[in-house]
């Protein structure tokens, strides 16, 4: 083993060095900036979690599994998983092995940044030694792995359908530069190492190429230096543009994972945690196909990946459009392997807006309603706004309750106060809090122990938010130890909040309801966004359906169910724009030719009902019909 260059330096390393120093400097600056943007309490929690052994181990493992091996992507799509992990893990291994080589063979050079990267140029080692043979073999092996990943990446650019993706993102100009330089890095490395392989050693890949070059080139050493230059320049360009491209996701995700493990969440639309999420998006484009809006070509640019891009560009007009259009169905959040919360991010954007007229509910006097609900019965049924618009659901629900002999009372027989969820989704937290405070008063006055809801929108609101005052609004109680959020004030303690699908499943299981089973009728269940992805209730409604007929499944169901298009989450989508979404969702439900579409949300039912040729019923109606 010999140091080929006595000084240990050659000017071709400069482009690489420039890029490296630049990107490291940028990352340090970025980390400090993000940390400063975090609220003091979050910052403290983040630091504590970094040194807590349990989260420390979890951080390391999560970073390894997600950033290098891309485990979540593998589960979703093997080919995409292989493509990403081969490049990420292969590159990591090459860097690691490069360092080991230097430590092994020439430890006095370890202080030189570029030595592990350009080892084969600076050091002549012989593959005849055991150490050399093993090291060079591993280096060649991982280089081959990366090259296969790059080959797949090139194919994906041309033919994304082969990867099960109908649409992929269009890279911006700088992304393209980053992309091409990334693609160039590894073939150039192969070339450079192959040309030097007869001088400084190689293995199966580089030596064979070297042999090839020697056959076809008169003097292959002429090309040696230019290829090392090219390799270094490609690295330099890639690292210099990195902070301004999608490749920023590499360092950002390493920050996002420990922050998430520390229990941080979005508190500001543009700073701190939200910013890290935005930068962690590698523009994989999985959220485009997932988004129900993307059935309209015009809405492709409203997918979460483009929200991230526009936030990075501070394009206020587009950010606002994209945030307002979204149905908040949450599917992009479920499919995103990085964990970008597209729906939460959008609500955070909505919350930054200032209004000339702020709703004020001082006039909402609930005293008469409190009087009405006080009395016998421990189940309180809240129909909610949407069920009032679909009275057949309310009727069916009450009929089922009667048939089961449940003693109940109505919270809003003549109309009630909105649960506040539409207000919350519009980003108006203070107003939503005002609304739910009034509902809490009524619920408490009723003395009930179970609150029954037939609308998943209300259900999610009551279950997730009525347990605590919305953060910040009543922040005085922060640190009281109630719940992970810190700002939690229990207000609906001891009252069970239950959706009718859960409740009915229990009644059927307990034998209090004995539905007539008709196996010839085929039902398909549509998972409403708020009930399924929102609250994780998938099984109970299916149990109820199985007790009345045959259950078939939609093409995409459970977590991947497609929003009906009627969601209150979207502020700006008009009826005409929603129609194709609804039709697409219906087509998805009807792949097995069901006799009836069953849902468990009044809004889904009325939305589907508008265009469906198959009858659409609420779970309560289907159950009620089957009860003698």
């Amino acid at each position: 083993m010999i140091d080929r260059i006595a000084s240990g330096f050659h000017p071709f390393v400069l482009p690489f060095m420039f890029g490296m120093v630049f990107v490291l400097g940028y990352c340090v600056y970025g980390i400090i900036k993000i940390l400063c943007q975090l609220p003091a309490e979050d910052r403290r929690r983040f630091f504590i979690s970094l040194v807590t052994p349990k989260t420390f181990v979890k951080n390391i493992w999560d970073i390894f599994a997600n950033c290098l091996l891309h485990v979540k992507l593998w589960k979703r799509n093997k080919l995409l998983g292989y493509m990403h992990s081969s490049i990420a893990f292969g590159w990591f291994m090459i860097i690691l092995l490069g360092h080991l080589e230097v430590i092994f063979f020439i430890p006095d050079r370890i202080h030189l940044f570029y030595y592990p990267i350009f080892f084969n140029f600076f050091v002549a080692e012989n593959e005849a030694t055991v150490g050399g043979a093993v090291m060079f073999f591993l280096m060649d092996f991982f280089l081959l792995v990366i090259l296969s990943g790059i080959a797949l990446a090139i194919i994906k650019r041309v033919r994304s359908r082969l990867f099960g993706m109908r649409r992929t993102t269009r890279p911006s100009f700088l992304d393209t530069i980053g992309l091409y330089s990334l693609w160039a890095i590894f073939p150039l490395r192969l070339l450079a190492e192959s040309l030097t392989a007869d001088i400084s050693g190689g293995s199966f890949l580089t030596l064979s190429h070297n042999w090839l070059f020697r056959q076809i080139l008169i003097d292959h050493t002429d090309l040696m230096l230019p290829t090392w230059w090219a390799y270094s320049i490609a690295l330099g360009v890639f690292m210099t543009v990195l902070p301004f491209t999608r490749y920023m996701h590499i360092p950002a995700e390493m920050m996002l994972i420990p922050m998430r493990n520390a229990g941080l969440c979005i508190r500001n639309a543009r700073r701190g945690f939200a910013r890290v999420e935005v930068f962690s998006c590698p523009n994989c484009g999985v959220c485009i196909d997932a988004c129900p809006m993307s059935v309209r070509k015009a809405n492709i640019k409203d997918a979460t990946v483009y929200l991230n891009r526009q936030i990075r560009r501070n394009n206020e007009k587009r950010i606002e459009e994209i945030s307002d259009k979204c149905l908040l169905c949450g599917k992009c959040t479920v499919v995103c392997q990085v964990g970008v919360e597209g729906n939460v991010m959008r609500v955070a954007q909505r919350a930054t807006r200032k209004y000339a007229i702020n709703q004020d509910f001082a006039c909402v006097d609930v005293a008469p309603m409190k009087e009405k609900v006080a009395g016998e019965g421990n189940v309180l049924y809240f129909a909610g706004c949407m069920t009032h618009l679909t009275p057949s659901i309310k009727k069916a629900t009450l009929s089922v309750l009667d048939k089961a002999g449940v003693r109940y009372k109505l919270m809003d027989p003549d109309g009630g106060v909105c649960c506040g969820r539409p207000m919350l989704l519009a980003g108006r937290f203070d107003q939503a809090t005002e609304l739910f405070k009034r509902n809490v008063e009524i619920i408490k006055a009723s003395g009930c122990d179970t609150l029954l809801l037939s609308c998943p929108i209300c259900y999610k609101m009551f279950r997730d938010h009525y347990g605590k005052v919305l953060g910040g609004v009543s922040g005085a109680a922060s640190g009281s130890g109630a719940g992970a959020s810190g700002a939690a004030v229990p207000v609906l303690d001891g009252i069970r909040i239950v959706h009718h699908s859960e409740y009915f499943a229990e009644l059927v299981a307990a034998g209090r309801l004995r539905p007539q089973m008709t196996p010839d009728t085929r039902y398909v269940f549509h998972d409403p966004c708020e009930l399924g992805r929102g609250e994780g209730i998938y099984e109970q409604p299916r149990e109820v359906i199985r007790s009345v007929g045959t259950l078939v499944e939609a093409a995409k169901n459970l977590q991947e169910s497609i929003c009906c298009g009627g969601s209150l989450g979207s502020l700006s989508l008009g009826f005409d724009k929603r129609e194709p979404i609804t039709r697409n969702s219906l087509a998805n439900l009807c792949v097995e030719n069901p006799d009836t579409i069953v849902t468990a949300c009044p809004l889904c039912q009325s939305t589907f009902g508008r265009y469906s040729s198959v009858p659409v019923k609420d779970l309560s109606q289907v159950l009620d019909e089957s009860l003698a």
């Binding site: 700073r271 908040l328 939460v344 609500v347 209004y355 706004c385 009032h388 003549d414 209150l568």
Partner: protein, 122 residues
């Protein structure tokens, strides 16, 4: 002399004298107010109506009549529940209309507050 009754000011709007500036401004930020046919379906289903007298039909009418204060008061009682959107026979995205009115009532400039720190959980 007290007859036990008096004249109350006429509630009829004089279409020649009303101030249309508000209407023209709102027309720009919420063009759908032109589409409304005043059927009142929205008001009939309104969740906020029993508490605050909110009626979108009346809000639009008040804007057309230049009655700024009345419209403003009604708007501040809307719960954004979305029932009116579901029933409007003209297919107006009424929630968006209400949000736009509330946002741009004073000026059509977009105003933001980026400094607020509040836990966003949905």
């Amino acid at each position: 002399m007290d007859f036990g009754f008096g004249f109350s000011p006429s509630s009829a709007a004089d279409l020649d004298k009303i101030d249309l500036s508000l209407y023209h401004r709102m027309e720009k930020v919420a063009p759908d107010i032109r589409t409304c046919m005043g059927c009142g379906s929205c008001s009939a289903t309104c969740t906020g109506a029993p508490f605050s007298g909110m009626s979108l039909r009346k809000v639009i009418l008040a804007i057309q009549r230049g009655k700024e204060r009345e419209a403003r008061e009604m708007l501040s009682g809307c719960m954004l529940c979305g029932k009116c959107t579901m029933v409007c026979p003209r297919g107006i995205n009424t929630r968006n209309l209400i949000i736009s009115l509330c946002r741009y009532w004073d000026s059509d400039k977009r105003e933001y507050d980026f400094s607020r720190e509040v836990e966003v959980k949905i």
